[in-house]
């Protein structure tokens, strides 16, 4: 077992990895932050404080929204998720050093640690550490952003109602009983933007496991190819996508590619149908198929990670 894994050696290797790559990683983090900052800046310039969220309270205590502005939630999701996939993918492509450079490859493979420990450090850095650092950068950018955005929204809200507060009849048009509308702050990062309030955990699972799946795929490419692994992995991924499209659109256009025949769905819609006597029935709830997709996206990265470990084990320099 000690030949395979020791926690002490793993920590040594991780420390060594971070020391040797810290300059690159700091630069990469600063670039991600700068890009995020630029997008948020553009958002403020073109969209900031244009609208706000306010509601009236009904007799039973429920919120009756007059304005429901979700722009801030939208920009957070637009920045976070594509950024996570794009930067995570780019970061994963630099896994396992540059096997195209013999000197680098020898230096890496000759470090006195097991292949499993080397693999584990890569998985930890590319998946977990990146995810944590990326999310931390997101919050560093969006916490002050949210405070600023809400301050601007509140200002617009008060300015508007201050301008019409003398008009009693007009105010009654908004809330029953002559009450003032209540301002609601835009939250910091909320999945409700997708309208899946009851399935937030599932959406989390699908998005995160898709991210892990993508990273695992790029890591596999990095260990599989010696030279130009970046382009080759990208082409491989594109090839896999084309096979999917070819199968789904040409070979079997209405056939569910996930489960047995008899089930049907469209290419990008996660809903299963069944046709009997020319009538179309929904035979599987969207959530079930969603769960199936979630399971698949969990299974795929595990399989790819296992394969990348064995590829690394057999890697010759």
């Amino acid at each position: 077992m000690k030949d395979f894994f020791t926690f002490h050696r793993f920590i040594l290797l991780l420390k060594n990895h971070l020391i040797e790559n810290r300059k690159k990683y700091v630069l990469f983090s600063v670039s991600i932050f700068a890009i995020g900052f630029f997008i948020v800046l553009l958002f403020f310039i073109f969209n900031g404080s244009a609208r706000y969220t306010c509601y009236c309270t009904a007799a039973n205590g429920t919120k009756d929204y007059i304005e429901h502005n979700r722009d801030w939630l939208m920009i957070q999701n637009i920045v976070y998720w594509p950024g996570l996939f794009i930067f995570g993918g780019l970061f994963a492509l630099t896994s396992y050093v540059n096997f195209g450079n013999q000197g680098e490859a020898i230096f890496y493979m000759n470090k006195p640690a097991s292949i499993f420990e080397k693999w584990l450090v890569e998985v930890f850095v590319r998946m977990i550490l990146f995810f944590v650092v990326y999310s931390a950068l997101f919050y560093i950018l969006f916490i002050p952003g949210t405070l600023l955005y809400n301050a601007l929204e509140r200002m617009t809200f008060h300015d508007y109602y201050a301008s019409i507060k003398l008009d009693e009849n007009h105010i009654r048009d908004f809330c029953a009983g002559g009450k003032q509308p209540i301002f609601e702050s835009s939250p910091l990062f909320d999945f409700n933007i997708f309208g899946v309030d009851d399935q937030v955990w599932l959406l989390y699972m699908v998005l995160v496991s898709s991210y892990v799946s993508g990273i695992a795929f790029f890591m596999y490419g990095a260990v599989l190819f010696n030279k130009f692994s970046f382009f080759k992995t990208f082409l491989l991924g594109f090839g896999v996508f084309l096979v999917y499209v070819f199968y789904a659109l040409i070979v079997n256009p209405r056939q569910n590619i996930f489960i047995a025949s008899g089930w049907e769905h469209d290419l990008f819609r996660l809903r299963a149908y069944k046709i009997e006597n020319s009538n179309l029935y929904v035979v599987m709830e969207e959530s079930y198929l969603f769960t199936l997709y979630a399971i698949l996206t969990v299974f795929v990265p595990i399989a790819l990670l296992v394969v990348s470990y064995f590829k690394l084990k057999e890697k010759e320099i």
């Binding site: 030949d3 040594l12 020391i19 040797e20 300059k23 020898i106 000759n110 006195p112 097991s114 320099i317």
Partner: protein, 275 residues
């Protein structure tokens, strides 16, 4: 320490080793000689487990090399010809890598860096190729690994650095160590190695200690070609020859001449060592 048994290795269709068997034992500094492309670097990479033999066995400290066992890797240090050092300060480089090597000697590293005139606070990315190499040589020696494999260590070093290299190497050799220096610049390892191993066309051509060579062979310079010469090389001022040593006095070994002789008349030379 290292045993190579019936090693077969090919790059595609190009055969490098065809049944090579060889041992490297402690207490020796080997000079591994051979023509360019004869497989010296490939042999090192097989020993370290960087390449998988297509047939035969390569074992280091009882471990099959390609298993890349960490307990084997922390006893071997390979200084490759095409080397890499990370873009960090020398101190960070040694601090983060040294804990992997149980016998690492930090004082020795600092002493060797002083010898090579390299400040500990320098950044490796800002160094010349020769300085980087000297840093790596200093680190490799300080790891105190049982086996040290050096592939063309003097390539890229200037004359003064080569002198420093020789001085440093002479000081670190020990009875419990095995150092293998692969080179085609034989002058650089003269007076340094105590065993000569020559490989050619995937096979072991010659493998003798310097002591044995000095006892069995005599390296002479003469104006006329000796009649009993095993090998003669014509030079500007006469002939450099190898003859059978019939005296009781050990002859000083001319490595360059020996290497030429091994390449030209291996059978005749090996025959002398059979008795």
């Amino acid at each position: 320490m290292i045993s190579i048994d019936n090693l077969h290795f090919k790059y595609g269709k190009k055969e490098v080793f065809n049944g090579l068997s060889l041992n490297f034992d402690k207490g020796n500094i080997y000079g591994l000689l051979g023509k360019n492309g004869t497989g010296k670097s490939t042999l090192f990479r097989n020993i370290c487990g960087l390449l998988k033999p297509q047939k035969g066995d390569v074992h280091a400290f009882g471990y099959e090399s390609f298993q890349r066992n960490p307990n084997m890797l922390n006893k071997i240090f390979l200084l490759p010809e095409e080397f890499h050092v990370p873009a960090v300060k020398v101190k960070d480089f040694s601090d983060s890598l040294a804990p992997f090597y149980p016998k690492y000697d930090a004082t020795m590293f600092e002493r060797l860096l002083t010898e090579f005139q390299i400040p500990l606070e320098n950044n490796l990315s800002q160094m010349s190729m020769g300085q980087k190499k000297k840093t790596l040589i200093a680190f490799s020696l300080s790891t105190n690994t049982d086996v040290l494999l050096m592939d063309e260590p003097t390539n890229g070093l200037d004359i003064m650095s080569k002198v420093q290299f020789k001085k440093v190497m002479s000081a670190v050799s020990g009875r419990d160590k095995c150092i293998v220096i692969s080179t085609h610049q034989v002058k650089d390892i003269e007076n340094l190695v105590d065993r000569i191993t020559v490989i050619d066309s995937g096979n072991l051509l010659f493998d003798q200690t310097i002591d044995q060579i000095g006892k069995k062979l005599q390296f002479v310079h003469s104006l006329e070609k000796p009649a009993n010469a095993v090998y003669t090389d014509e030079s500007l001022r006469g002939y450099d020859s190898i003859v059978v040593n019939t005296h009781q006095i050990e002859s000083k070994v001319d490595l360059e001449l020996l290497y030429k002789a091994v390449m030209e008349v291996p059978a005749e030379l090996n025959k002398i060592f059979e008795y």
